[in-house]
């Protein structure tokens, strides 16, 4: 398990991190979500040791992370960049060797990754001759080439086409499932986070404002909403049930908010007494809605 414990960091007068704590269990994919400038990149840089925290600790398997254990981490920085004039495979081999992978292993692993990530072009091409999308894939290969024990990826999906997104999602799933790697990545593509992640950590203004599985977040945050469409019903038919109120009207349907005690089945019975029920179901807020709700507080 990768644990971040009470990380604090100031840049001059700006408090970037104000006690950030969360953990990434082995084999789990954690999405790290927050607005621009909320502290995601600072947190990840501290986890990778390229930035110092003013206070707080980073633990891997219960022990403080030092430069030697950090070599087993895989990182994709927000500021992308590799040597523009270096050949693609040579570059990957170099980065893997810096992290202690033997040359031969690094070489075959690099070749394999370029195939898996569907990088178009020759492994002996210079980096600068590749398209941006391909450079992005090579950057991912650079995070993976040493078979890391931990993956920390800052906006890995930005700049990828839909096919690239699917390829990367599959690679991350594979790393977590097959090798038990804890994966944490930041993203603004919330549908993707919802689809891919076991857990989500929401950060706002340097503080963690919510964390848990999507289901937990919904339970914690979302209102109990049901959408019902009964074309023949008279308006206000639900008012006889205690603890039920109108939340919204939506294209001929109504969205009702139920208090804790109110029974959805009772609402359904009532609705059928009014006429044919065209639609009936719970309204699951998307991660974006949850996020907006949390951040708005």
């Amino acid at each position: 398990m990768l644990e971040l414990i009470d990380l604090r960091r100031r840049f001059d007068d700006v408090v970037a991190l104000d006690g950030v704590s969360f953990e990434v269990p082995e084999g789990r994919i954690v999405g790290f979500v927050g607005r621009n400038g909320s502290g995601k990149t600072t947190t990840m840089r501290i986890a990778l040791g390229v930035l110092h925290a003013d206070a707080g600790r980073v633990l891997w398997r219960g022990r403080p992370v030092d430069p030697v254990t950090r070599r087993r981490f895989g990182y994709m920085p927000e500021e992308r960049g590799l040597y523009p004039k270096m050949r693609v495979r040579e570059q990957l081999v170099y980065l893997a060797r810096l992290r202690g992978t033997p040359k031969g292993v690094a070489r075959s692993r690099a070749t394999q990754l370029l195939e898996i990530l569907e990088v178009v072009g020759d492994p002996n091409d210079r980096m600068e001759t590749l398209s941006l999308g391909n450079q992005q894939r090579v950057q991912l290969a650079a995070a993976l080439v040493h078979e890391p024990d931990v993956l920390v990826l800052d906006e890995p999906f930005s700049g990828l086409d839909p096919v690239g997104v699917d390829v990367l999602a599959e690679v991350l799933r594979g790393q977590a499932r097959d090798r038990g790697v804890p994966v944490v990545f930041s993203s603004h593509q919330l549908e993707l986070v919802e689809r891919l992640c076991d857990e989500v950590v929401l950060i706002d203004r340097g503080r963690i404002v919510a964390r848990g599985s999507i289901r937990e977040l919904r339970a914690m945050r979302a209102r109990n909403l049901w959408r019902i469409e009964v074309p023949a019903a008279t308006d206000g038919w639900w008012e006889v049930v205690p603890g039920v109120s109108l939340a919204a009207r939506d294209d001929g349907a109504v969205v009702l908010e139920l208090d804790g005690d109110a029974d959805p089945q009772r609402i359904l019975d009532l609705a059928r007494a009014e006429g044919d029920v065209a639609a009936f179901g719970p309204v699951r807020p998307s991660l974006s809605e949850l996020f907006r709700e949390v951040v708005a507080e």
Partner: protein, 396 residues
């Protein structure tokens, strides 16, 4: 899962990359060729002046040629020999014509020695001596002095030579070697120092530095870069000096017994020490900026230091024991250039060499942690120029 026990020695990978990437660059090839061309010109210039350096003369004579042939004989016997070619002319007019077109240096006419605009001192002393000999011989003939007495008088035991303060042997050769050496040192220290700074900026500008620093420590990256580029500079220096020495021997520009090998060794040794010192500064300076265009601004103080040291060292060729030269050869900011010159010229006493070495090595050792801290504080700040104070405080 392979666990890696230590990250010590990752600087070797960095050094190897920096070495091999640059050795394949066109600019490396070009700088090697330019260096070899410059050295060749210097060596060949000295070789041609060395051949022409022993004076030789053409001496004309009108009428009796005994003074002229006598002078030629004296020149032949001199140590080193001074070749004098004698040309006989039927009359003064023919001799004057030869003087004017420069085919003779002077003409003996009766008891006159005539030049065109002037007469070389060496030639005139030989001719005067010959004239005295002719006069003395004529006198001895008149007095019928027996041959054995003449021989005894003509062959006195030569004087034994001695000097109070002998000049170092091969002085002029050593000065030439020192000049080439300091020129090479200046080029290498400066050129490869800039390469270190631009290598740092290149990694910053391409943002690859964040990937690197997530894998290795700033000190390892800094050390690897300096050693890798320094090794390349050293290799080039060895190639160029070997070429220069080979060419110098082949063309007789210098004598095999001279100190050329020692001087080459000195230049190489001081390059290593001087490079460690300057490159550390160059690397720290490079980490403060993000774009190549800004490089010049931050390295001005280092450039000036090296340039001033270079000029002082050139001055040391003339005056190796001048006060400025002595001080410059001891201060670590200039000793890498000034001290080898004074050593080659035989002007530096052992204690000064030791003090200079200790100062240079010691200050480099003190400088490295300072530069490494600036480097680690500044190298991740990829927006605009970083102030030294900011960089210092950003790292801990």
């Amino acid at each position: 899962m392979s666990s890696v026990p230590t990250d010590r020695g990752t600087w070797r990978l960095v050094a190897r990359r920096d070495f091999w990437v640059r050795i394949r660059e066109r600019s490396f090839l070009i700088s090697t060729l330019i260096n070899i061309a410059v050295i060749s010109i210097l060596v060949l210039a000295r070789a041609s002046s060395a051949v022409g350096s022993g004076p030789s003369f053409d001496l004309g004579s009108v009428g009796s040629s005994s003074i002229a042939t006598g002078a030629s004989q004296l020149g032949h016997d001199a140590q080193p020999p001074i070749p004098i070619q004698v040309h006989a002319f039927p009359d003064q007019a023919a001799a004057n014509a030869a003087l004017r077109d420069g085919s003779v240096d002077a003409v003996v006419v009766d008891n006159q020695l005539i030049g065109f605009t002037d007469i070389p001192d060496v030639l005139s002393s030989l001719v005067q001596a010959s004239a005295r000999n002719v006069a003395v011989t004529a006198l001895l003939d008149r007095h019928h002095v027996p041959q054995e007495e003449r021989d005894a008088a003509n062959d006195p035991t030569p004087l034994t030579l001695a000097v109070l303060q002998p000049a170092p042997p091969h002085r002029s050769e050593n000065a030439a070697v020192a000049f080439v050496g300091v020129l090479l040192l200046y080029g290498q220290l400066f050129g490869y120092g800039i390469w270190v700074a631009s290598g740092v900026i290149e990694e910053k500008a391409s943002r690859v530095v964040e990937m690197l620093l997530s894998a290795i420590r700033p000190k390892q990256l800094l050390l690897g870069k300096i050693i890798g580029i320094g090794t390349l500079g050293l290799a080039q220096l060895i190639v160029i000096s070997s070429f220069a020495i080979g060419l110098a021997f082949a063309t007789n520009a210098i004598d095999v017994s001279s100190s050329a090998f020692g001087a080459a060794g000195l230049v190489i040794g001081w390059f290593i020490l001087g490079f460690a010192f300057y490159a550390t500064l160059f690397a720290a300076a490079g980490s403060l900026v993000t774009r190549m265009e800004e490089l010049q601004n931050v390295i001005v103080p280092i450039n000036l230091t090296i340039l001033v040291s270079f000029f002082i060292s050139i001055g040391a060729l003339q005056d190796p024991n001048g006060r400025l030269q002595v001080i410059a050869s001891i201060l670590p900011t200039s000793s890498a250039l000034a001290m080898p010159v004074r050593i080659v010229l035989g002007a530096a006493p052992a204690w000064q060499i030791v003090v200079s070495l200790v100062a240079l090595v010691g200050s480099t050792v003190l400088l490295v942690p300072f530069a490494a801290r600036l480097y680690s504080g500044a190298v991740l700040r990829t927006r605009g120029r970083v102030r030294i104070r900011e960089a210092w405080r950003a790292a801990e």
